[in-house]
Subunit: 435 residues, 2 copies
């Protein structure tokens, strides 16, 4: 008997039929003897409909009221799901973020979890009942106001509850079979990854893999919560996210299992891509001490989430350099405005915005200790005739910025160069999940 | 400067345009220097949509989950309304029933208010902000679960908050101009009533006038809250519900005003009608001691809300009598089943169900002390060729059951007989309100 936290996204509970299907799976998990806690997102496009309503009312509504509005979506899905489970003869109760003890700070729209106090969830489990919890929301304990967790909020709710309840596993149900070595819509030979460490998953999520929210992975890593990403449409095992490099192996497993696990431990996990960023280049910056620091102070104050930064060597003749960085499309306007406001102070010549870029990333454990990985990647792109515009690396990742037009070709070239293509060429459907 | 509680029903906030219109009215009330608390229902047909969703999931969902589901509607309307007011430059904050301190018992679906502790509402008013409160809902303090108040819940929320805040007036905004002497769709000469006592309003509401919920009137009477029923589409004064018979007159008013008020005090308030009931007749009941008590024990246990009861004099030859009572259509099935289950014990011959009845009621203060009222009413029906099937009376009301087909004619005949028709024949639109 295990304690299982299951999370279902909006596409898994899009209508009455989907809710009944999910309820059946939950009832089966309970009947198999597990303690089951379910985290649920709003139904299908409910959130978009609520956002449209708000936009009809006010271009810039107060964030506190937006949070109240948006959390209505989970109230609907969680109560309907509890009804559907009850109809199958299994007792279920639904709880808001507040009732489930998800305590947050006061930052409406992107609150951080400060504590998880799941007394009522424990009581519900002790009675043999299934607990349904609204994803994406919490309560600001200072004033009892509802807050939302922002992007990836429901995944984070699930992992935080799993940590707070010391669950055996946190299952993230989605509309794909797990994490893949690349987006199968782009690389048809992409394979499902059976196991991946927190660190690799972090790099994959940060590099554009949308199946699991970055923030939830960070939380899972900190509290050592095993996360199982799997399909709500099939019974197949998905991708298990757990452990750090070198300890993917279960210490309680037999020596045969340990050996097999170690042998299966892949050096290269997969190829992620991201179309959501643009590039800003600050042209002709005097290459003086503290100039970069001042630039990124200004950018940070504008609220932009910077990803890659590249500074060229300054031309000796002029003492001027160019600094390029990537950031989400949505942050372009405020960032350009903030930089132009201090143009005379920073003494740069020009700002260039390029929103036609793509980023491809190769992620794998122990990448730095294997010489030749970068060379093979760059070679694959060269052979495919793809120009590299920016490069950034970490211990377990190499990212490259290309023209947006070249991104799909880049994913395929790298996926093939690192022998990730499956022999069978599994036909799978891959898609991002909602919040 | 007054403290005003305003309640807007679902039809007043049916879409973004309506919400903006209501917001304007609220902002004006605030700018005029009033402290404003607003109680709001769910938008238009949101509640029906949620009920449909639940029906798709389960024929008999747990009531706790139904309450969670339905309260999503007010979350949406209250946050949108707060946004719309904020956009007009007036600060507004929305609060759930729990946050507003509406404490109830644990009866999901028809909870009773046990206390009102509106700390946060007071704090909001002290900051000069408008407080928006979700109607229809409260919190069961025993376990922090959300409850709903059932039919007429939002009116009751408004009156309860007005009582708890010691407000100067509770304004119930609706889509008609106030309480009328009859339904103007049936009696075109119906006039708006300017003032009415709690007792008369209670009888009107209990007799089928749907503009103000019976329960809210009971609450207003107990806590002496002046209620102003008025249109959200016009600035015209509506109907003021306050005082008891004989003290409609403001004791602080001048003697001229007092005299005028007394002279205006109508003996007959209006004619109400009700099509929502059916009649059950228990045929051939032995006329023995305690038989009626036993019958209505059984009926009460079936959960039926009985209205009128008539027992005929028993036929001396047989010692058998017939007992008829009226009840809501929705209670017929369970009541018939309960009675048939004890048929051998009660020894009656037959049960007859008649769902083609209508009830018309004449309501007015001091009716019993004015001889001839009943005679005039029965005479008007006779002259119109309408047969009377049951009669029931109170201090300030006479109700008569007729064939459903005759109900409109009965309303017109009585309205005319008591000279309630206006000279002008105001063209008004009359309709019931939602919850």
């Amino acid at each position: 008997m295990a304690l299982v936290v299951q999370k279902y996204g909006g596409s898994s509970v899009a209508d009455a039929r989907s809710i009944k299907r999910v309820a059946k799976r939950i009832a089966e998990a309970r009947r198999a003897g597990n303690d089951v806690v379910v985290v649920v997102s709003a139904m299908g496009d409910t959130t978009d409909e609520l956002l449209d309503l708000a936009a009809d009312i006010s271009p810039k509504p107060p964030q506190r009221e937006m949070d109240i509005l948006l959390t209505a979506g989970e109230r609907i899905s969680m109560s309907l799901l509890a009804m559907a489970i009850d109809k199958l003869g299994v007792k279920a109760k639904s709880f808001t973020g507040q009732q489930a003890g998800l305590l947050t700070d006061a930052v409406h729209g992107k609150a951080r979890i400060v504590d998880v106090v799941p007394h009522r969830i424990r009581q519900t489990l002790e009675k043999g009942q299934v607990a349904i919890v609204a994803g994406f929301q919490g309560v600001n304990t200072g004033n009892n106001d509802v807050t939302t967790l922002g992007r990836g909020g429901s995944d984070t709710t699930a992992v935080a509850l799993a940590a707070g309840l010391d669950a055996d596993v946190c299952e993230i149900y989605t509309d794909v079979d797990g994490i893949f070595t690349a987006d199968p819509r782009i690389a048809p030979g992409a394979r499902k990854i059976d196991k991946v460490t927190y660190e690799e998953m972090l790099e994959l999520a940060a590099s554009g893999a949308k199946v699991l929210a970055l923030r939830a992975v960070e939380y899972a890593r900190r509290y050592n919560v095993p996360v199982h990403v799997r399909s709500s449409f099939s019974g197949k095992p998905g991708t298990l996210v757990k452990g750090t490099h070198g300890d993917l192996i279960d210490p309680n497993a037999s020596s045969e299992e340990q050996e097999e696990a170690a042998m299966e431990d892949p050096i290269i996990s997969g190829v992620a891509h991201d179309r959501s960023e643009a590039k800003i280049t600050i042209v002709g910056v005097p290459d003086t001490l503290g100039q970069a620091a001042r630039i990124f102070e200004v950018v940070a104050a504008a609220g932009a989430n910077i990803d890659m930064i590249v500074q060229n060597v300054s031309a000796a003749a002029t003492g001027l350099t160019d600094i390029s960085f990537t950031l989400p499309h949505g942050d372009i306007r405020s960032t350009v405005a903030a930089l132009n406001a201090v143009k005379s102070e920073l003494k740069f010549d020009d700002l260039q915005v390029d929103d036609e870029i793509g980023k491809v990333s190769l992620v794998g454990a122990g990448m730095k200790s294997h010489p030749g990985i970068s060379a093979r990647l760059f070679g694959a792109l060269r052979d495919a005739g793809i120009n590299i515009e920016m490069i950034s690396t970490s211990e377990i990742r190499i990212s490259v910025v290309t023209r947006a037009d070249n991104l799909d070709d880049a994913v395929r070239a790298i996926h093939t160069a690192f022998e990730l293509d499956s022999a069978e060429g599994e036909a799978v459907v891959y898609a991002g999940t909602g919040r």
